[in-house]
Symmetry: C2
Subunit: 204 residues, 2 copies
Amino acid sequence: MTGHSIPKATLGRLPQYLEYLRSLPVERRTISATAIAGALSMGDVQVRKDLAAVSGAGKPKVGYQTEKLIEDIEGHLGCDKLTNAVLVGAGKLGRALLDYDGFKDFGVRIIAGFDCNETVLKKGAKEILPIKDLGSYCRQHDVRLGIITVGGGSAQEVCDRLAECGIEAIWNFAPVRLRVPGGILLKQENLALSLAYLNNQISK
Amino acid sequence: MTGHSIPKATLGRLPQYLEYLRSLPVERRTISATAIAGALSMGDVQVRKDLAAVSGAGKPKVGYQTEKLIEDIEGHLGCDKLTNAVLVGAGKLGRALLDYDGFKDFGVRIIAGFDCNETVLKKGAKEILPIKDLGSYCRQHDVRLGIITVGGGSAQEVCDRLAECGIEAIWNFAPVRLRVPGGILLKQENLALSLAYLNNQISK
DNA sequence: GAAATAATGTTAAAATATTAACAAAGTGAC
DNA sequence: GTCACTTTGTTAATATTTTAACATTATTTC
């Protein structure tokens, strides 16, 4: 168990399980793969296999210990270690993400936003700072993740600057394909993409 | 060609190709699978296979006709048919999506937002209307897609109301698993989920 | 305590998806 | 016109993922 090679497909489903498990009432000490499968409308065998890849054994007739399962999934997703992140581009989307507090459940804390537009700068809990302070801030606060929510035009520039700051991964919302130096992880988020998929299914 | 069974994996990559192709300058009349693969850092054979599934033939030594390729992908993604959508929950994220105009490129037009909070109501290009008008509005405007950006607490309620309005698909940003009546398509969006994945990779 | 049940875990099979290998077809240079 | 080159499309091999089948194990009931 926890051998080493968790299938990529499994990894992609883990957050789903995690989310569901967390939504359960605390009284629910145990849960069966069948129940999870039912709630998430997936095959029960698949759930069992996924869980087997990341967690210990369940008990026949009983299921898995809910709490242990959550812990194990969190462990594999790295939710236990808190990663500091900064966000660049305090437009509407940027501010929405900045204020969204659901990320901390997944081990990421956005500790500050940056923008070049003076008018959006803000002090307080979630600061929005001038972009020129990006480098020094990142180095001071052990920032490992950068989130890009600027327009497509300046995304590459922001990306480069983040790379210079020693960021390890970039989560890009700008609809532009970024060039990142080797060693830096890039995740492209394209909300329109989800829509396209939905729209396709509807029309069908 | 356009036989009928496009692999699911291919379908998932189509929006990526589309995005890239659209980013090309118009002078670029033809493009090779190799070039696409290079830009997107994927295997060239895969690109060729994907393209073969949705479009006609390319010419050796030349590549594919950019414009035709775009059209074909759009066709398969249903981007050609414009679908009307409404958004419920005009918080920061909701307003960000409402104002984001990238969706229309993927065949979806958010024509109005709804909220129960009187203070955010707004007239103009992208109206924000009181939630009580949801039903009549949807029926009048042939709305087929509903986007939920309310908090987790009221998401199910909103979902039920949308279902009553004859919506065909729901795109849910609330971190809650919704129960939808059969026949309605549900796509769960969980931004935190992407983060979890990233964070996992970093920690590794 | 034996039988019934609900769950697990494993092994094998089937389906999908990716990668590699190679032959064929345009294009351009000489 | 032939040769070299690039790029396609196809066929086969490999890897991965999903599904099915089945034997096993704890719990509950009688």
